[in-house]
Symmetry: C2
Subunit: 342 residues, 2 copies
DNA sequence: AATAATTGGGCAATCGATTGCGTAATAAAA
DNA sequence: TTTTATTACGCAATCGATTGCCCAATTATT
């Protein structure tokens, strides 16, 4: 049994004995067709179960109302929320969303971007993979005059639209909060420093300490502690110090904060009394650990909406020579039990 | 400044003074072109920064290597995991993924499906919205000879491929486990009964009780308790009974189980000693509540992979008249502290 | 009544790639 | 050397919709 042909505007035209162009105009509600014919076409189209072939239409029109999204991992709270926010807006505009995940691999990210270029998407929204690499693929996007919006993990030197969190500020506030609670030796679990966001968080940490006259101690900064396991390891390491910290800011993620909490609890160290803990991201679980974990909310869903709105308001219609904008969203410190010493 | 034209096979053909068809053949590695020309074309294409226009190619070839996905919510652990699993496989096959969310709304689901039909996707993967509605839109998909795979929340009467969890079995095992722990009055928080999965879970509950000679008590079954808040409300209601239950199976989700846990804790009822709690889905947080919550893992990521493999192995190449298959994945009971009375 | 303006609709090119068919040039077979 | 087979490539139609341009019929204007 062979595939049955789908009805096209030509089928409708033939049935009604008019030209295909008229059918097209009727369907797109052009004012170059008589109201009566328009109605007739619409009725017939429905009868014949017509559905437009978007590939043909987009090819002819030379644009594809689709936004491509590349994220490290689709199933990670933050990213899936951003995508949900994006979808919320793009859906209303009749845009489609093509989703890819880089799995934190540079090569795969390049592949994804190329696939999206092939698809002639109108815009590519990306948060880059942790694996370092060149940015040629992103330059390619720009060279091809495709809109590009970077978010969260961005390549600073690339002159594109960016939607980011003010990581430094958030980090600064978190550390300031810890200080205000009376913590004196505050450690930092840091993420890969080739990624902006982690550098910024470290900067915020340092600035806050300096501002309050605290020394910056290398021994209190643990590199690359961005999973639960590494968070626990880092904590073990910190607690072995001659002068262990009395607070740990897990600037990488709530997962590493969870690792800290578990490691501390296992050692019989009470939180928040003997050790304050602050995470990053406001993952749902931070609310229900015991004690609940102080963290930073990134407004992930609204970040997705912001990205989409940026595209529709500034990039869809205007010409390409607009000045790229950087939208910085101030994350919110959510104070919970894990840092409430007072 | 106007948009610069992208290079096409014609541009390459012109530059090399050969026919576009030869360029096309060279690029698709056809054996109808000389190796030398092939190399030359490839080199020139790279030089000219050529990227295929997928819309044109797909239009001509009459197929679009894209799978459309419609889920109630993208940012929900289970669904985002399924999508991640799907992507893992489709990426390797060079397929794209278009993602839509129905937001549990029937009208929106219909919209999404239509958009996917317009896009001429090769396959639609869907988990239907909670809002009841007709299934015309899915029938449309079948009528148009587009492959359709339902998963998790499926419409039983529609004869399509289905990938589901054996909800009844999982539910049966959970309740049996509760019984084996010595719980005597086991309550059920149930989901909307017009959705299969929730009916099946209820069936499993009833079967388990009957098998072990327990009475089926209407008062112990709370309808529509599928959020954290409703779970807490249902719990409050149950605990007011003259003979309150000593275990609650939140068959709807871990979120409602969390509601149960919070409501019970608030009332000073100890878990698992005075009240056993079992959830459903194995959301990450169930591991870190105190006590940790017994739940059921649905292998969500591998479910996504299963769906993709089903498509590539059985539906991509063969003709349309294959017998739709139902793949049932047996979920796994994860026993944690919240039910370990013994 | 004659001319101008408007309306409705058809023709055919176009978007960019793919592919069936035809054929010249070359290689192999007789 | 002639005939047949093979190889490499070009021509042109095609996928399905959109759109600029042109023209006939109708309506408005003088």
């Amino acid at each position: 049994m062979k595939r049955q042909k789908r009805t096209t505007i030509y089928d409708i035209a033939q049935r009604l004995n008019i030209a295909a162009s008229s059918v097209s105009r009727a369907l797109s509600n052009s004012n170059k067709v008589n109201a009566a014919t328009k109605a007739l076409v619409l009725k017939t189209a429905a009868e014949m179960n017509y559905q437009q072939n978007a590939m043909a239409a987009n090819l002819r029109k030379g644009n594809n109302p689709t936004i491509g999204v590349v994220v490290p991992r689709i199933n990670q709270g933050f990213f899936s929320n951003v995508i949900a926010g994006l979808e919320e807006i793009t859906y209303k505009k009749g845009y489609n969303l093509i989703i890819c995940q880089s799995n934190e691999l540079h090569a795969r990210e390049v592949d994804c971007v190329n696939a999206l270029i092939n698809q002639h998407v109108s815009c590519i929204v990306i948060s880059i993979a942790a694996e370092t690499g060149s940015y040629d693929h992103l330059q390619q996007v720009l060279d091809r005059q495709i809109r590009l919006i970077q978010f969260d993990r961005v390549v600073e030197e690339l002159d594109t639209f960016k939607v980011i969190n003010d990581n430094e500020r958030a980090s600064y506030e978190a550390v300031t909060h810890l200080i205000s609670q009376g913590y004196k030796r505050i450690a930092l679990l840091e993420g890969p420093q080739h990624l902006d966001i982690f550098r910024q968080r470290k900067d915020g940490y340092i600035t806050a300490l300096q501002k309050h006259g605290f020394p910056i101690l290398q021994e209190l900064m643990i590199e690359n502690a961005w999973t639960k396991e590494l968070g626990a390891e880092g904590t073990a390491q910190l607690l072995e110090l001659p002068e262990p910290p009395d607070a740990i800011f897990a600037s990488t993620s709530d997962f590493s904060a969870l690792g800290v909490l578990e490691a501390a609890t296992a050692k019989g160290i009470t939180v928040p009394e003997s050790l304050g803990i602050c995470g990053y991201s406001n993952e749902p679980f931070t609310e229900i650990t015991s004690p609940s974990i102080t963290t930073i909310d990134q407004y992930s869903m609204s970040m997705g909406k912001t990205i989409a709105n940026l595209y529709f308001q500034e990039m869809e219609v205007f010409d390409l020579n607009i000045e790229p904008k950087i939208v910085s969203i101030k994350p919110k410190l959510i104070i919970r039990k894990s840092t409430q010493k007072i």
